[in-house]
Amino acid sequence: MKLRNHIKQHRARLNLTQQDLAERTGVRRQTILAIEKGHFIPSALLAFLIARELGMTVDEVFEISEIKNEQEPTP
C-alpha cells in the first residue's frame, strides 16, 4: 500500500509555496517536499494540519492506493 497525496495541486490552487505551507504547519520545507514526493508519510496530526491549511479534509488530500503486484496476506 502507498499513501498518495494531492498537496501540490491544492497548493497551486491556493498559490502557496512549499515554504508557506511548511511555516503554517510548523515543519521544514524539505518535509513538505518529502511528503509531496511520497518519500515520507506524515503523522496523523501533521496530515490534519496540512489538510486544514489547504482548506480540505484529510481524505481529500491523502489517499491510500493499492500496489498492484502486492501479495495479499494469507489468513
Binding site: T25, G26, V27, R28, Q30, T31, A34, P42, S43, L49
Partner: protein
Amino acid sequence: MKSEMVLMNMDERQRLAWFMANRGTLIAVGAVWISMIVWELTHGRMPGFLLAMVPVFALFRLGLYLFYSSKPFTGDGGDKESRLVVAGKAAAAALLLVASLLPIYSVPGFQGQDTRFGYPWKLGPDDAGALFFLAITFLWPLLVFGLGKLGRGRILRTLTQFAEPLLAAGSAVIILWIPQLIFESRVLFNFLITPVTPRPEWGCYLGVAANGLYLVSWMAGFLRPQTVQEG
C-alpha cells in the same frame, strides 16, 4: 525529557532521520566494540570489561525501551513549557528577590554588643564587582527571562536551557558561601573575630529554597514527556 531534537526544533521527518542516524552510530559503535573484543582475544588477553559490558548495555537498552514505551506520544503541544513550570520559576524568582532584601547571616553579639545582621546589598556597596556578583546571585532569573524574551532561536534556547540549572545551583552555593567569603578575609587580619561563627538567617534559607524551587521547576519541565510530533 527535553531532547536535543526538541532543542534543535526538529520536525517529525528530521526526528526520524535523527533516530536512524543514532541507530547507524550505535551499530558502528557495536562493531568497534566487537572488534576490540576480538583484538584482545587474538592477543591472548581476556577482555573482561568489554565482555561484561555487553549484557549491561543490552539490559540498559531494554530498560530504556520499556521506559519510552510507557510514555505517551500524543502530540498535544508538550514541547511548550507548561504553565505550572513557568509559575514555579516565576515564584522562585520572586522569592529570590525577597531573599536579597533579608539578612543572609547574623553574628551573635559578644562582650555586650548586639547581634549584627548581614544584608546582601550592604556587603560591598563601594565595590562594583561585588555588587555585580550579588546582582547575578539574586537576580539571575530576570536575566534568563530577559534572554527568553529576546527570541526563541535555537542557540539561545539551548543556552538558556542548560544555563538555568547551573545558575540555580551556583546561586544557592554562593548564598551559602557569602558569610565564609566575608569572614575568611577578616579572620586573616583580625584574630579577635576568629571565634565568632556567622549563623545563616532567613534570607539564606529563603534564597537557597528559591533556587531549589527553580531547580525543581526546571526539572519538571525537562522531564516532561515530549511529543514526537511538533505541530
